[in-house]
């Protein structure tokens, strides 16, 4: 137990965050105890999905922590465009290591675009969970829901606590 606490505080001390980044192309990120990356500027659900809110469009995917715990994704099931998604309700599924895992939507809204590249390249979720591995774009029906989600620091701590508790 003591060792785990030491490891946790060491990881915290080593946590990197990019402030004035040399390259404006690199998104700011931090490394959590579980060594998954967490992007700043996104919102996070306790079920390990992320949301990027850009004006009237919200892009949704699963986090680096989630893809690492899933293993190699071999199949992705996504909703149709114009269908609706609801907060904390399942909108799709991924299959990895003979397990299908449901993906829950962090917010409610209408699906306006779906990442069709994932049909032929489901592994994008593993290799690029925050960029090329995005899953759906949604027009939020209740923007206030975004405020109930976690920020990057909160989510990083959440992951650490979840992993440390077991």
């Amino acid at each position: 137990m003591a060792l785990r606490m030491w490891a946790s505080s060491t990881a915290n001390a080593l946590k990197l965050s990019s402030s004035t980044s040399k390259s404006h192309l690199l998104p700011a990120f931090s490394i959590s105890r579980c060594f998954s990356s967490v992007l700043e500027g996104l919102k996070y659900a306790t079920s390990h999905e992320w949301v990027k809110h850009d004006g009237s469009v919200a892009t949704i995917g699963i986090t680096d922590h989630a893809q690492d715990h899933l293993g190699e994704v071999v199949f992705v099931e996504l909703p149709e465009e114009k269908s609706s998604v609801s907060k904390e309700k399942n909108f799709g599924a991924v299959e990895s290591v003979k397990a299908t895992s449901e993906i829950l939507s962090p917010i409610s809204g209408e699906v306006i675009e779906v990442n069709t590249k994932l049909t032929d390249s489901p592994g994008l979720i593993n290799s690029s969970p925050y960029e090329d591995g995005w899953m759906i774009k949604v027009k939020p029906s209740n923007p206030a829901e975004l405020e109930t989600l976690m920020g990057s620091k909160e989510y990083t701590k959440f992951c650490e606590e979840e992993d440390a508790a077991h």
Binding site: M1, M5, S47, A66, D68, H69, L70, G71, E72, V74, F75, E77, N90, A93, E95, S96, V97, K98, A99, T100, S101, E102, L104, E162, D163, A165, H166
Partner: protein, 244 residues
Amino acid sequence: MIMDDLQKMRSPRTLEVWKLGTVNYLKSLKLEDKLVSDRKANRIPDTLLSLQHPPTYTLGKRRTDHNLLIPEAELKGLGAELHYTQRGGDITFHGPHHAILYPIISLRSIGIGARNYVETLERSMIEFASVYRVKARAGHKGETGVWVGDRKIGAIGVRISSGITSHGLAFNIDPDLKYFEHIVPCGIADKEVTSLRRETDTMLLHSEEMMMLCGRKILHSFWTTRRRSIKTNSPSGLTRFNPV
């Protein structure tokens, strides 16, 4: 706060085991759905179903029915059923002398994801096989399951819904392997299917006893590292799910 954490780690969790005998596939699906919902609402503890199915072919979410090599109508002639499911994995067969274990557990409450869960199921089957001096191994990448050499002895197909698992694993104790000739098992061509009967000279116990031994081995492998207590029962509430 440190003491709270220590307490949480020490307190054993309960795993309730239901010994169901032979159960029709659709009935077991209905039971699983109900238990997943109950587990999600914390009305029940983590639960493990131990059972066998009458001859049944099942497909996973990807609906890979191109791996069924005969028409569905012919399956009925063999006395088998076919079902499409939401689990991961490809086509497989379940029948008598096939040990089936369906853990209905909350992965969130033990803090592991799909990959670790499946790896633990694989390890459990490997440990069970070793009791009979059969050296099994986990599958290579993309071949999840348990193998003896190039022959598959244990299969996995899992569904995770809001962090609760259903479906699970199937271990070939002594099934009629001829049923596998009508499919490309698990979508992997050119690989054989085998059974404990084929791989060991050690005398196998009577089928029911083997099932429970397999179940217990898997339980111990999976749960004792997490300081769980194990309760085995056949709750009377099950009488409304009449086995075949």
